[in-house]
Symmetry: C3
Subunit: 135 residues, 3 copies
Amino acid sequence: MITKLDVEAPRRGLIEITAEVARLVADSGHDEGLCTVFVQHTSCSLLIQENADLSARRDLERWFDRLAPEGDRLYTHTAEGADDMPAHIKAALTATSLGIPIVAGRLALGTWQGLYLFEHRAHGGVRRLVVHIGP
Amino acid sequence: MITKLDVEAPRRGLIEITAEVARLVADSGHDEGLCTVFVQHTSCSLLIQENADLSARRDLERWFDRLAPEGDRLYTHTAEGADDMPAHIKAALTATSLGIPIVAGRLALGTWQGLYLFEHRAHGGVRRLVVHIGP
Amino acid sequence: MITKLDVEAPRRGLIEITAEVARLVADSGHDEGLCTVFVQHTSCSLLIQENADLSARRDLERWFDRLAPEGDRLYTHTAEGADDMPAHIKAALTATSLGIPIVAGRLALGTWQGLYLFEHRAHGGVRRLVVHIGP
């Protein structure tokens, strides 16, 4: 089963999508299986990260901003804005697709795991994910 | 087929799990297929790396320790210990899930590839993996 | 369906393999499904990146070269050449396997996404990929 899922990404940072993907898994009727989430962009990405403490996610975002800052003199690809090359780099360092097992009809995430769209542009807009659910 | 696999991770670093996952593939009876390994934590991760020379793995661990060191003044999330934010960052930079094809009843790893749990906490404890094997 | 795919990687950098993998998907006859691409090496990797502007890919290569340069005094694993440890590190930071949904008989890549082998050695040679296509 394939489903397209549009996510609003108005600003840079982690946007939780656990509930949206969990709902697709519940609707699929699969008791056991594999759910693969794929993002159709190269300036945002996917991340499974700790869902409890907001400070951990904020530190993560700031750490990536420092590792791949805007305005680096290395960049020659600057025509699409100062946030474009940092976005491609952060996307390369994280995930474009994630496979998550389904157990007892639910995503087999750990207790502290949340699923996030990691938006790297200042104004991402609507981001399209493609979700594959199989047995 | 879904199997839970517990791995002892008493200390930081790479812990080889190739044999444990290979055994699950052998037991599954699948001649061709896909084996997806998923780790249910956000402060350890998965890595396929060179299995021959210990010095390559040691350099890799030290390189990640330097890239995301303890005590960075950027961190505000420090309540869970000095090794916690570096652990989340290293997990974000590596893999939470890995799909490995099955060919002729075996994991289709290359000659020099080993499958590792990459523990990022000083004392990780027992880490739970969920392994999905399908046709 | 499992297919082995050999790719010539004569030099460091991104080598597009979208057309080769798309052909396997077309040949498979699957209308919907999942295509998993796996690379059997630890000094090259896989990347989905922007396929339009060459300057974005060049900047990406140069950024990774700067993050994990040759000649770093941290490295003790130097017997296989100055480009070997940087290659393992870059492979750890990017992907060894990628799952891409199949929709309407085609890889569900976004408009600006291309699939690349990211060669990290100065002279990679022939690199072997294993492609799994399932329903």
